[in-house]
């Protein structure tokens, strides 16, 4: 079971176009996420990443295909799957504590007010927001708002955390700190995470696996990159790892050129006798070419 905690099986999403014929944003997507795994999806705007996340959240439905989570098909939103929204989506008339407590009360409706408050305060403590409980979201900086969003998602102790470009609206310093905290929290709790991002470095730092999506319409999963960096990594050190540039270049190459021309690349590969199976997108593990590695590093790794 743990092999395929989340299993996305052949989903497609079509919208009616101007001429009435449906246009598929993405089609025949297959991939799975193991329990405790951190998976990032990366691709250009319009490839349907957010739709995939919304389908996982239960906020949207695939036109065809199913998503199975923990042995059960997704039917609508669930408290087992918490979403951290790109725009933080805090309720502006509630305080910071009120926003988190609202989620806690939704999860455990029978808890006493004191217990709900204590639990919400604990969640705020985890993201370093103790002391700001009684502020309104409008009084907070962008980074602090997103912390509240993270606290709200974590407070309901979800089986899966879904993040839609959670840090894209933040400045670089704040983004870095929040990435560190999210990574720490997710590792401490063995949280299963699916995250959408535009930021290659963010994906490399955070993810165990990176799903590369081709351009829409008709987007597909081109490859799944198995991150070769060690589990224990520090944001400030990660770019010094010998495999770092191999992964980074692979992903950047994909985004810059291959994502556009993937259909031709595919046709060439099929012509060369390598048929493609959408059910099992190729898994690649970019590593530094041995000749380029300094001997000392090679010995150490």
């Amino acid at each position: 079971m743990s092999e395929r905690f989340i299993s996305i099986e052949g989903i497609a999403r079509a919208y009616p176009a101007a001429d009435g014929l449906p246009i598929a944003v993405f089609e025949d997507l297959w991939f799975s996420i193991r329990r405790g795994e951190f998976v990032c999806a990366i691709g250009h705007s319009g490839c349907g990443k957010t739709t995939v996340l919304n389908i996982l959240a239960g906020l949207d439905e695939p036109s065809t295909g199913v998503v199975v989570v923990d042995g059960k098909g997704i039917e609508g939103p669930s408290l087992d799957r918490a979403v951290i929204f790109q725009s933080h989506a805090l309720l502006p008339w509630k305080t910071v504590l009120g926003n988190v407590a609202y989620a806690v009360k939704s999860r455990w409706p029978n808890w006493s007010a004191d217990k709900i408050k204590a639990h919400a305060e604990k969640a705020l403590g985890v993201v370093g927001l103790s002391g700001a409980e009684f502020k309104k979201p409008a009084e907070l900086s962008g980074g602090m708002k997103q912390r509240v969003g993270i606290a709200r998602a974590l407070s309901i102790e979800p089986k899966i955390l879904l993040m839609d470009e959670p840090f894209s609206a933040l400045d670089a310093l704040t983004r870095g700190t929040l990435q560190d905290e999210v990574r720490r929290i997710c590792r401490d709790t063995s949280q299963t995470v699916f995250m959408i991002t535009h930021d290659v470095d963010e994906a490399i730092y955070l993810a165990d696996k990176i799903v590369l999506m081709t351009n829409g319409p008709g987007a597909q999963i081109a490859e799944i990159v198995d991150n070769p960096l060690p589990i224990d990594r520090a944001r400030t050190e990660v770019h010094k790892h010998p495999d770092y540039y191999a992964v980074r270049n692979h992903i950047v190459d994909f985004l810059v050129s291959r994502s556009k021309n993937f259909a031709e690349e595919q046709a060439a590969r099929v012509a060369g006798g390598l048929p493609r199976n959408n059910r099992h997108p190729p898994v690649v593990r970019p590593l530094a070419a041995p000749a380029l590695m300094p001997a000392a590093t090679r010995a150490a790794s």
Binding site: A57, G58, L59, G76, P77, S78, L79, R81, A82, V83, F85, S87, A89, L91, P92, W93, Y102, A103, S106, R107, K136, A138, I156
Partner: protein, 279 residues
């Protein structure tokens, strides 16, 4: 020598008031009395003819009369002689009744219209036709069906306060941000809890704006309605004093209507501020 803006604005307001009162006083003050006239005859002619005094009361006359009204606002000496406080109380009570009924109908109905595109479209033609009807046009129909002039006035207030509240509630509910609704969905919040904890607070500023427009219209309409139905109320007071040819009292009534209307608007604007949220 810089003083605060509110102070300077207040000072300017006082100056404008003084100029207005001064001009009023000069315009209505009498000229020299006409000499050589039999005093008995002069009495019959009145001051307009004999002293050049305007029939329009001056600010001092109005001030004196206002003082008499304010000293004893709540006396009741029969149908045509009630204190101005009593008349205002009647008007405010009618507005409160009609407005309260309108809230009871407009909020739930507006919620349903805002939530359901089907109902919104189905009811739209009716609302669009009913909205521009002058509330007083309903009066004969109301008098005929309700057969009670007091209740008819309340009905007219109800019908005129309904539309702004209904339309604003529907609009506010329909335009609640999708992301807030998605938060409620991902937290598996039930429909009733969602209505009260997400939709209502999110739409509250828009709803209160509609309520503020409504109270303004209701206060405009009550004067006209009471002129028609008669008996009590500030509108009836105006009409009665016009029949008495007491322009002084008419001016006082106009002043009081303005002050009460401002107070009602102030209450609603405070309430709006209470429920609005910065984003």
């Amino acid at each position: 020598m810089t003083t605060s803006l509110p102070f300077r604005a207040g000072l300017l307001s006082l100056v404008i008031l003084a100029i207005f009162l001064g001009a009023w006083h000069i315009a209505t003050a009498g000229s020299t009395p006409i000499a050589n006239i039999d005093p008995e005859y002069a009495k019959l002619l009145g001051q307009t003819a004999t002293q050049g005094k305007s029939a329009m009361p001056g600010p001092l006359d109005v001030g004196r009369a206002l003082w008499t009204h304010l000293r004893d606002p709540f006396y009741d000496r029969g149908t045509n002689d009630k204190g101005i406080g009593v008349q205002i109380a009647w008007s405010v009570a009618r507005v409160a009744a009609g407005y309260g009924l309108a809230i009871l109908v407009a909020l739930p109905l507006g919620f349903v219209i805002g939530m359901s595109a089907l109902i919104s479209r189905a009811l739209d033609p009716f609302i669009q036709i009913m909205k521009p009807i002058s509330p007083l046009a309903w009066m004969p129909l109301a008098l005929y069906t309700i057969k009670d002039s007091g209740l008819s006035a309340i009905f007219v207030i109800f019908i005129c306060s309904l539309w702004p509240m209904l339309i604003n509630t529907a609009f506010g509910v329909a335009s609640v941000r999708r992301e807030w609704l998605n938060v409620a969905r991902t937290l598996e919040v039930g429909p009733l809890r969602k209505a009260f904890t997400v939709i209502l607070p999110a739409a509250a500023p828009t709803i209160l704006t509609g309520m503020r427009i409504s109270i303004g219209i209701a206060w405009l309409v009550i004067v006209a309605a009471e002129m028609l139905v008669g008996g009590t109320g500030i509108g009836y007071f105006v009409w009665n004093e016009w029949n008495n040819l007491s322009i002084t009292n008419v001016i006082i009534a106009i002043l009081v209507i303005g002050v009460v209307g401002m107070a009602l608007d102030l209450v609603l604007s405070r309430l709006t501020r209470l429920v609005s949220y910065p984003e």
